[in-house]
Symmetry: C2
Subunit: 456 residues, 2 copies
């Protein structure tokens, strides 16, 4: 095989430095989720194709990666259909399984399937990859991780409050204090549609508004009118969602414009209740943004999106849904969830240089290899160093000193220990700090304590 | 959708208890790997189909899950081929990508592709799922995790020693002190083949010997003779691999029978060197087993397998390879690696009741919800408890007491805090230990310290 090997477009390898940084994000998120009582679950990468089809719209159906059936997968396919080469029509005959497209639908399926083993309200987090056959581009991959937190089986607004606190804490712990959390409420949008005479077009309205960032107010207006929405209504709705100011101000103006529209008042009340219950340090980061629509039509209450002024894309989003599990036959399970975009958070943290510097340190201590007897002694001492909770390795080959030191340097090793024939005879170790270049001779017995002290 | 949802055969959901236990195994292994200087990498779930095909034999090729190309995947397929419905011949036309089948081939591909970014010897670990379209049965899944540790770019036997120490430490930390580690060496097997006049049949010989556990000595003998191996040679080889006793005894007997067979002596020397360099506590667990062959033909030196007397299957295995990356065009990269079977280790630990009891404890502290004002105060106190590094949650709804207590019980919560109207007025909390049933009244100010002390 002469070709240089490669991986599929839109997928990535992660070298140790990247993998350690990713692990740092996951571990940080996990520790916050757990401190609030959320528990981990995992679902299989493959779902039955019928579990996924029809849940993400036609475009989504196309972007799902399907798995070719094993064995003689063509034997049962109708000859006539094959002759017509209708790729779309044959998908279900060639493929029973597919790779999950997000964590939301598998979560709904999981809750229904395992309902007898779970305690409700069920608070879960899930950190796993998803796959989409999207056109790859900067920051958009065909395999990427989602990091979802949901509570299902409770319609209490305390869950909204809690998830906003979780968002605040995760990003603070990652060093991203300066995020802005935007919230809105589907009931307010529904009220705006009603007040503007657009109730019959609610779904088109939210889908169009969702594109505001990308196509601007004029673009949204055009799209709505092109889709047959009455122009006067469109203008009214766009004026309403453009109300800006502090939270209380926006809600008051809105209330003034919504006389008689009960649904809007329910939404306004929900937003007020959630804001009031937030700790002040979190409330300061939360803004009401009536233009926030999120096109997903399962949202029914709060909508949440998190952004950063120096980064174009949303780094976290979510909302309340009243009937997510209904698609699998279990109704009356209100819930709310958020999804953190691990890859975007990674890119943002990298751009702002926020990862702790010691994350990718391979090992704290390396022993140079001067030959078999010396290496065996080093191996013994390395075990002692490890027993004192440090990480240590012996360079496996008695290679040239320069090569061994380059390895230590590349791997970010803090201390290099040298046991040559002389040290072996005298029971000592020459210890060199890779940071300062200083070198000291230590008795072998004292080595672990010495290193432990230095590495504090 | 009326049908109860399901997942594909051979795949699994993991509820929180299972997921936490799995995480415990991974975290334990990870901490040992890192203490020896191994670093994490990740590779994509999907590889190019051509990267995987031909690496696992014909049977392996069939068991690889292929991904159906997206878009109009039939448009370029030859009409005549379609008409013949030759499923095998069409795989490469319908599918460019496949799910990884193990972590070894992706690792070799990774090393070649990223060689300029890595420091050699490169010590990596990788914990990721793999997929195989095997017939599902007890303990055998279509999606399962592998946990691989390799060092590549060094032929020093110190790596063998190190990996045996890693095996010992990982299993000790998991509570599995009573494992047995069996080792052998491909050079010894090659010497046995030579001494028995079977050199020309070496691959068939190792594949047959690999089945010894399943089909017995007679079965192995039959298979070799059926495959055309000369009977006298087969008998001689089987006598040699059946040598048993302590390590030094076996090696001495073997040496006596191998006069003039240099390859065998190279293998014997390697085994001796490795055994000598092991700490005694590890050496006690290591046995020489000349019947250990491992059918994979990329092994060239040490072979390792770990078992447990109460468990039929191997829970870890590996060996040295001299040319793993050769298949992707990079030669002269000797390495050695082991793979831990996370699912089997899980089953074994479950059977022996070895998981720490507090792993799936959802939360340490729960606040009962008595209504809005009480819940808001509870939410505030829960934040304080969390700030003192405990996990805490407020039950989101003011449901019946019985329901809330059942939730706390199901979730293994240690302390339940109750703030009703009275406590709210007096600034106190009623704290109940779920373990002892004891209940005390504490001032709100003292709550965090009180709980912290109790939870020590």
């Amino acid at each position: 095989m002469a070709n240089k090997p490669s991986i599929p477009k839109g997928t990535r390898d992660f070298v140790p430095e990247q993998s350690s940084k990713r692990q740092f994000i996951f571990d940080t998120a996990r520790s916050v989720f757990q401190s609030f009582g959320y528990q981990p679950i995992e679902t299989p990468a493959m779902e039955n194709l019928e579990t996924l089809l029809g849940k993400y719209g036609d475009e989504g159906d196309r972007l799902i990666f399907k798995i070719l059936n094993n064995g003689d997968y063509l034997s049962k396919v109708d000859d006539e259909k094959l002759r017509q080469k209708d790729s779309n029509a044959l998908v279900k005959e060639l493929s029973d399984r597919a790779l999950r497209y997000d964590l939301t639908v598998p979560f709904a399926r999981f809750v229904v399937q395992n309902q007898n083993e779970l305690s409700f309200p069920f608070k879960r987090y899930q950190i796993q990859p998803v796959w989409r056959a999207d056109r790859p581009q900067k920051g958009r991959y065909r395999e990427f991780y989602q990091c979802d937190v949901d509570v299902i089986g409770s319609d209490s607004l305390l869950n909204e409050t809690e998830l906003l606190c979780i968002i605040d804490q995760v990003f603070s712990k990652l060093g991203l204090d300066d995020i802005s959390i935007r919230i809105n409420n589907r009931k307010i949008l529904s009220g705006i549609a009603e007040a503007s005479g657009l109730s019959a077009y609610f779904q088109q309205m939210t889908v169009a508004i969702d594109k505001l960032d990308k196509i601007g107010v004029d673009g949204v207006k055009e799209e709505m009118i092109r889709n047959g929405l009455p122009e006067a209504g469109v203008k009214k709705a766009l004026n309403l969602i453009n109300l800006t100011g502090d939270a209380e101000g926006v809600l008051n103006m809105l209330a003034g414009a919504m006389t008689g529209v009960e649904e809007a008042f329910r939404g306004i009340d929900e937003v007020r209740t959630v804001l009031k219950s937030l700790p002040e340090s979190t409330r300061e980061k939360v803004k009401i943004d009536l233009t926030l629509a999120r096109g997903l039509n399962y949202y029914t209450g709060a909508i949440i999106e998190v952004g950063h002024s120096e980064f174009p894309s949303s780094i976290c989003g979510g909302g309340r849904y009243d009937d997510l599990t209904g698609m699998f036959g279990l109704s009356d399970m209100s819930g709310i969830g958020i999804s953190l975009g691990a890859d975007r958070i990674y890119d943002l943290m990298e751009a702002k240089n926020l990862f702790p510097s010691n994350l990718d340190a391979g090992t704290q201590v390396m022993f140079v290899n001067f030959g078999q007897a010396e290496a065996l002694k080093s191996f013994e001492l390395a075990s002692e160093v490890r027993a004192s909770t440090m990480s240590a390795e012996v360079y496996p080959d008695s290679a040239k000193m320069k090569k061994q030191m380059k390895y230590a340097n590349d791997k970010g090793i803090s201390f290099v220990c040298m046991i040559g024939a002389e040290e072996l005879a005298s029971g000592t170790v020459a210890v060199k700090s890779m940071g300062t270049g200083e070198q000291e001779n230590i008795s072998m017995d004292a080595l672990s304590n010495f290193l432990k002290e230095k590495l504090k």
